[in-house]
């Protein structure tokens, strides 16, 4: 079964339109209360010198986040790059729903699994396209 960081990652990667489309085929989301947001802000992206050395600030990025509470008090969080407040709120509601064991399997199957499969397929396609450009350079005899 998928764990919490995994479903949050799938929801963060999915576009607003993709989440909307999968939600259209699922039961309506339950009522919830907004605890924080949805709101848009900035996070600082960071890198490491040389890829593996000391940390430096690379650039800022826009981020949308939302925290909601279900009627039973379960808190859900949605965080994602970009400015889609709708997607952040949907992700927060789904995060709260998926924490309840009773409904987890159903919501995973209805929403998260299809998104995850589409993401896996796109990643695999990119990997195959990348593999098709693998190059082997041959060194010619040195001229000197």
């Amino acid at each position: 079964m998928m764990d919490r960081p995994s479903w949050m990652a799938v929801l963060a990667r999915a576009t607003e339109a993709e989440i909307e489309a999968t939600l259209a085929g699922a039961p309506p989301l339950p009522p919830h209360r907004r605890v924080r947001g949805p709101e848009v802000g900035l996070t600082m992206l960071r890198g490491r010198a040389g890829g593996d050395g000391a940390v430096f600030n690379l650039s800022e990025a826009t981020v949308a986040r939302c925290t909601v509470a279900l009627e039973d008090g379960t808190l859900g969080h949605g965080w994602r790059l970009g400015r889609s407040k709708r997607a952040a709120e949907w992700a927060a509601v789904l995060d709260a729903l998926l924490q309840g064991e009773a409904r987890r399997a159903e919501w995973l199957e209805r929403v998260v699994t299809p998104l995850a499969e589409a993401q896996r397929a796109a990643t695999a396609r990119d990997a195959r396209r990348t593999a098709a450009t693998e190059v082997r350079f041959a060194t010619l005899a040195a001229m000197r």
Binding site: R48, E60, T123, A132, E134
Partner: protein, 365 residues
């Protein structure tokens, strides 16, 4: 000193209305959408995000549209927007070793673990204009595919470092790195601020400086140990959760530029490297950044500082095109009062000069 002026409102409004009309161009042609810019002028979007120092493809595309394709103006717009947003916690450093690689090449190794993949590149094209693109044609044929091995692609610099032939990066501490947007820039500048400044610096400026190091201003003999481009995951640890979660993926380009040896009494001679990391698919920027990063290490490595690219103040205070354009372009604003005082000064100097010359002429008579 700049003395403010007022007035000109009607003329300014008329100028801006005309600008809007010029931006739209011939209305017989379909209007360009920001989504089209993001999809079809993606490398311009990457550059504006990097120099505007804000990752948001849609906003960068909008800025390009609004700026009529003026990419420095677009970076300026993005920076200004960014100032309106609140700050959330910072993300974890991206792990470029775990990149979902779409392109990875090395000029130093023919064979390396994971292989070399060209990805979607301009390299090896003939740079001939493709007139087929003038016609609105059909969609291009889908790219070829072959079976992916999934073999890991370690950084080439790690391979050299394992052999002890590459100077290792000093590991950092856990303290948050200094931030150019909040902290003053001291000189000599610490590496973290140098890298941040270069990452948002103007590609053209850094390209020229990087080129100058190749041409002899700084004694560089660089090799691209590795250039890689692809997707990295952005992780953040929100305080309310206490564990890292993914915010999604971003595309970055990384360049490891190997350079000549350094060694001291206690360390054997070894390769040194400059590092470039930039948002999007931006190889020229990442390479130029790596060249200049290496040049800026001169002082740390005990090399003589002789060239512009090695001079921290010269490079870091002039790399930001938003600052540079602000200061250069402010010269267009009315400077009537300043100029009036210059005029008066010149008139008085001239009067004295003429009096002196007349005095000389009278004395000669």
């Amino acid at each position: 000193m700049y003395v403010a002026v007022k007035g000109g409102d009607a003329a300014i409004a008329a100028a801006h209305a005309w600008l809007a009309e010029q931006r739209r161009g011939d209305t017989a042609l379909p209007e360009l959408s920001a989504a089209q810019v993001a999809e079809q002028l993606g490398l311009a979007v990457d550059r504006v995000m990097a120099e505007g120092s804000c990752h948001d493809r849609e906003l960068a595309a909008l800025a390009i549209k609004q700026a009529r394709g003026d990419l420095i103006e677009a970076a300026f717009l993005l920076r200004a927007y960014r100032n309106t947003l609140t700050r959330f916690p910072a993300a974890e450093p991206v792990d470029t070793g775990a990149m979902r690689v779409r392109r990875r090449i090395s000029a130093t190794y023919k064979d390396m673990p994971g292989g070399q993949v060209l990805g979607p590149t301009f390299d090896y094209t003939h740079r001939l204009l493709d007139f087929a693109l003038l016609a609105e044609g059909e969609a291009p044929t889908p790219p070829e595919e072959s079976e992916a091995t999934g073999a890991p692609m370690p950084r080439v610099s790690d391979i050299l470092a394992q052999e002890g032939l590459m100077r290792r990066e000093p590991p950092g501490d856990d303290a948050p790195p200094p931030d150019l947007t909040r902290d003053p820039l001291p000189f000599p500048a610490p590496r973290a601020l140098r890298l941040q400044s270069l990452a948002r610096g103007d590609e053209g400026f850094l390209l020229g400086l990087g080129y100058s190091t190749q041409r002899g201003y700084g004694n560089a003999h660089p090799f691209v140990a590795e250039l890689r481009m692809g997707e990295v995951e952005v992780l953040i640890t929100p305080p309310e959760l206490g564990f890292p979660i993914s915010l999604g993926e971003i595309t970055v380009t990384e360049c490891q530029m190997v350079n000549q040896f350094a060694g001291q009494a206690d360390t054997p001679p070894q390769f040194t490297r400059g590092y470039g990391l930039s948002l999007g698919h931006s190889e020229r920027k990442a390479m130029a950044m790596a060249l200049v990063d290496r040049a800026l290490m001169a002082r740390d490595l005990g090399e003589e500082v002789t060239a512009p690219a090695q001079d921290h103040e010269f490079v870091l205070l002039h790399a930001d095109n938003v600052e540079a354009t602000g200061f250069v372009e402010h010269l267009k604003l009315p400077h009537h009062v300043d100029f009036q005082s210059e005029l008066e000064k010149l008139r008085s100097i001239r009067a004295r000069w003429e009096a002196a010359r007349n005095g000389v002429a009278e004395a000669a008579e």
